[in-house]
């Protein structure tokens, strides 16, 4: 084919998609990146005066504590997802081949249904008159209903519910790629099961653990719906804080700076994960 023909073809294939993403993703992100360095106008607009004040303000103890709290909630969710998800993924990945895909689809199915509805289900389960409290009172375990809803416990439960399937999928793809003969060799050499797991399986599936953890952490820390609906309306996580700056406080520059700090944190984690995976693969190649 001629050189121009090739060029035209590329333009037709890539042009619309890249153009769309440039116009409705790159430029809008550029706009809020610029906003994050401007002052808030008197009536909630933008005063085009350069400032670093918004970023400085984000490190004010009040806002810093919200960032740290979000990180804590996300970390807790990630740890729980790993603890619950690993044994599940392990069983699926080491089970009979024809059962793996159906079992995995069964794990992923809820992940693809409406997030609001799935969050709402926990309001029904956890509220004072909810099923869990009723059941606990009925069997006489407690006298008065427990405050299960509108706190961090509810948020972590909701996030875990939302993102556990993701963790299982990441772990499954890592564990299922393991050669079962390596485990068998370890066992044949006399290592007990737990030792084979700790010294062989776990280190070899670290890339999957890293990928699943980073994704669950990133999705959790940037979440808005769960803290909003299960957290009881208080501003507990960065997502709510950004939302408030845009829709109630009308301080767009500050909200934009918070968004970029969040993105910066996410990028750092994604790069760290990519680096860890590369390193692990390099080591395996050398071994």
């Amino acid at each position: 084919m001629t050189k121009t023909g090739e060029l035209v073809q590329r333009l037709v294939l890539l042009g619309p998609g890249l153009g769309w993403l440039a116009l409705f993703l790159v430029v809008p992100c550029g706009v809020i990146f610029a906003y994050s360095f401007f002052l808030r106008g008197i009536y909630g607009g933008i005063d085009y005066v350069f400032t670093l004040e918004n970023y400085a303000r984000a490190f004010d103890p009040l806002y810093l504590s919200i960032f740290l709290n979000s990180a804590k909630i996300a970390a807790l969710t990630t740890a729980l997802a790993l603890l619950v998800g690993y044994p599940a993924a392990y069983l699926i990945a080491t089970g009979p081949r024809h059962r793996q895909v159906p079992l995995l689809i069964l794990v992923m199915l809820p992940f693809w249904s409406n997030y609001l509805i799935r969050t709402y289900a926990w309001i029904v389960l956890l509220n004072r008159e909810g099923l869990i409290n009723r059941a606990l009172v009925d069997i006489g375990l407690i006298e008065t209903p427990l405050p299960l809803l509108y706190n961090e416990f509810a948020i972590v439960t909701g996030l875990l519910y939302g993102y556990l399937p993701f963790m299982v999928l990441a772990l499954y793809s890592s564990i299922s790629r393991l050669n079962p003969e390596i485990r068998e060799a370890s066992a044949d050499l006399g290592a007990p099961g737990w030792r084979t797991f700790l010294r062989v399986t776990l280190p070899l599936t670290l890339p999957g653990i890293a990928a699943g953890s980073v994704f669950v952490f990133v999705l959790s820390i940037g979440n808005f719906i769960t803290p909003d609906l299960l957290g009881g309306g208080r501003t507990v996580m960065v997502g709510n804080l950004i939302y408030d700056q845009f829709l109630s406080a009308r301080d767009w520059p500050f909200g934009a700076s918070l968004a970029f700090l969040l993105i910066g944190l996410m990028m750092l984690l994604l790069f760290a994960q990519a680096w860890a995976v590369n390193r692990a693969q390099g080591e395996r190649a050398r071994a």
Binding site: R10, V12, L13, L14, P16, G17, W20, L21, F24, L25, V26, V27, P28, C29, V31, Y35, V84, G85, P87, A88, L91, I92, Q100, L104, V107, L109, P110, W112, S113, N114, Y115, L116, I117, A121, W122, I123, V124, L125, G130, L131, R134, Y161, V168, G193, V218, L219, G222, N223, F224, L229, G239, Y243, F246, W252, G255, A256, A259, L262, I263, M266
Partner: protein, 260 residues
Amino acid sequence: MRHPIERRLLAGHLGLVYLFLYGPILVLIVLSFNKSGLPTAWTGFSLEWYGRMLRNQAILSSVGNTLIVASVSTLIATSIGTLLALGIDRLRPSALLEGIVFVPMIIPDIVLAIALLSFFTLLNVTLGLHSIILSHAVFNIAFVCAVVRTRLRHFDKSIIEASIDLGASEFRTFRRITLPVIFPGVLAGALLAFTLSVDEFIIAYFTSGAGSASTTFPMQIYAMIRFGVTPEINAVATFVLGFSFLLILLSQRLNRGVTP
């Protein structure tokens, strides 16, 4: 089995995981048929809440809006996303390109929402269903592109060369060979895009503008949840769950053998 006890424990654990995943959903489904509508006691089977749902004008018009947004943004994203996947497939790997088609899938919704709101406001664009459609297409293009690329990776390119060598034109090769091969992927991508758009809340909320004319279904659900636990939501929830599970199972069938 070398360790039957260990595996039995693991199986018990997996059972609990499924209970955790499906328990809350089943509760909503059962409650949607409860006459009293309350989670406290079962007072008999009833379809009353479904009747109320179907008579609720706000719900019906929001469903209509969502169907418009989802179909149009899916049409845009499927055509553009498929072209993009074909284009990227021909290029040498590039980190920048990978980044730009990966970002829409991972960027927090709230960040994309405020970015698009700022962008539309800056340009004085009137907000409404059209701005939601433009916004939803952003992440939908990325997802369609990702699904089609998976399909392309499993596709033996030598068939294309053979076709060209045998004298078929570039276009004819595309229509008779490439398109039929990737078509299940395109369809699966479209279904995924449709599902994501039907479910998406925050970006729609920020880019819909004021007024109820452009309220989408998730926005309506959010308003109902915020308003308080009304039994009608259970019926709505069951309806939505059934609908999205159907779509996903369909897309799984289409993409069988390509993704696990």
